[in-house]
């Protein structure tokens, strides 16, 4: 029980941290000041959620690892985030499409998790659900604006959807870690979120005048530690200080 709860919480924590870190890369580079601030805010919410999740994962594990040890002192093959989270920012359309695909899943996910039999996960969920509602609205409105915008913005958003769609299947996968916890009412069964996810995306695609991509080959592996080449670069950037000067604080 302890091991599966640790694994499950760690996956959620890693996904939030890695996507939060990706968003933070936009800081100072976004197309306009307002969006620079917005992306930093989204990243901040996700990193805040990751902190709560890591702290809890460390408590569950009971080996004395805190949030920093889990975030900074593990290698790529020990990270359990979904592959979508680590995909590069690309252009603004890629970032917004990635955020929409993720938020359309995570908003109903946290909503359901509020009823988890695990009190700590339910408490983290109650905060995260409120935050994700704004992430979903923000990214949804941008995808509509880009899809329904100029030829250039439309081309970019279509390319972004095609590139990221194969990473969406992983969100709906379950393995023995999930099924054990779903049975106990701790975890959310991702298949129960599919209908809501589809409806949200169809609503956005319709308003944006975009066609929903066909489901084809779906890439997976992140949740068991098999990552795309991008994760290593994120960790090199994010973990440099703690790796070079172990225990450094300021």
């Amino acid at each position: 029980m302890t091991q599966v709860l640790f694994d499950y919480t760690l996956r959620l924590a890693d996904t939030s941290l890695i996507l939060g870190h990706r968003l933070s890369e936009w800081c100072g580079h976004a197309p306009m000041l307002e969006e620079d601030i917005a992306l930093a805010n989204l990243g901040l919410d996700l990193i805040g959620q990751a902190r709560s999740l890591y702290t809890y994962a460390g408590e569950v594990e009971g080996r004395g690892r805190d949030e920093d040890a889990l975030a900074y002192l593990r290698d790529a093959n020990e990270f359990r985030n979904i592959l979508l989270a680590e995909q590069p920012n690309g252009d603004f359309a890629v970032t917004m499409v990635r955020q929409l695909l993720f938020s359309a899943y995570m908003h109903p996910f946290w909503f359901e998790m509020c009823r988890s039999t695990d009190e700590t996960l339910a408490a983290i969920a109650a905060k995260s659900e409120k935050e994700l509602a704004y992430h979903l609205r923000h990214s949804g409105e941008w995808v509509i604006r880009l899809g329904d915008g100029t030829d250039e913005s439309r081309r970019r958003v279509i390319d972004a959807l095609a590139a990221l769609w194969p990473f969406t299947g992983e969100m709906f996968e379950t393995d023995p870690v999930d099924t054990a916890l779903i049975a106990q009412g701790v975890a959310v069964d991702p298949l129960t979120l599919k209908e809501t996810w589809d409806e949200t995306l169809d609503h956005v695609f319709e308003k944006a005048g975009l066609a929903r991509p066909d489901d084809g080959w779906m890439q997976s592996g992140g949740r068991s530690g098999r990552h795309t080449e991008h994760l290593g670069f994120i960790l090199a950037d994010m973990q440099f200080l703690q790796r070079t000067y172990p225990g450094a604080t300021w």
Binding site: G20, E34, E35, I37, A38, N41, L42, L44, D45, L46, I47, G48, Q49, R51, S52, E119, T120, A122, A123, I124, A126, K127, S128, K130, E131, A133, Y134, L136, R137, H138, G140, E141, H203
Partner: protein, 172 residues
């Protein structure tokens, strides 16, 4: 005998009361007109199992960077009130909501130039708009510039009547 028990129970814990007043006076570093009591961030001041004074707070947003500073300032305020080593306890549940913001808090916010949250958090619409009044001229002819403002809790708006940009404290 029963009267004595009653008397004991009614003894007011003066130290706890002082701690509560001190903690309640701490202001939000980003919105210095609001105290953490106005915001609803301060949940409880109590005695811990070891009899130490505990101040219970809840974050507005998971990643709110002001929380560390708020915790530090509570600690200093309570110590200034003569209580040694207070403990700051952060709880996530129940999750903070703008519904907890006090009426005086809302009024102070508006006077400071930030539009207070409109409506109840439980009735927020996913893809809808709410009419936010301009805190400067009161017009309802306003538009949202960005969902996210200078802090996690605010959005950026513009008044179409007086043309002033302003912050809106988001309903959450």
């Amino acid at each position: 005998m029963s009267a004595m028990i009653g008397e004991e129970q009614s003894v007011i814990d003066l130290e706890l009361q002082r701690a509560r007043i001190a903690a309640a006076s701490v202001v939000d570093p980003e919105i210095p007109v609001l105290t953490i009591e106005d915001l609803g961030v301060l949940r409880e001041v109590r005695r811990g199992p070891d009899d130490a004074v505990e101040v219970v707070i809840t974050p507005t947003y998971s990643g709110c960077p002001a929380m560390n500073l708020i915790a530090l300032e509570i600690e200093m305020a309570v110590e200034r009130a003569g209580i040694e080593n207070p403990r700051i306890v952060t709880v996530l549940s129940p999750a903070w909501t703008t519904d907890w913001m006090s009426e005086p808090g809302r009024a102070k916010l508006e006077k400071y130039g930030i539009a207070p949250p409109v409506g109840k958090a439980s009735r927020r619409a996913l893809f809808g708009e709410v009419a936010v009044s301009c805190p400067k001229c009161g017009s309802e002819q306003t538009e949202r510039i960005s969902e996210f403002g200078s802090t996690a809790c605010k959005a950026l708006y513009r008044c179409l009547a007086c043309r002033e940009p302003f912050d809106y404290f988001k309903c959450i």
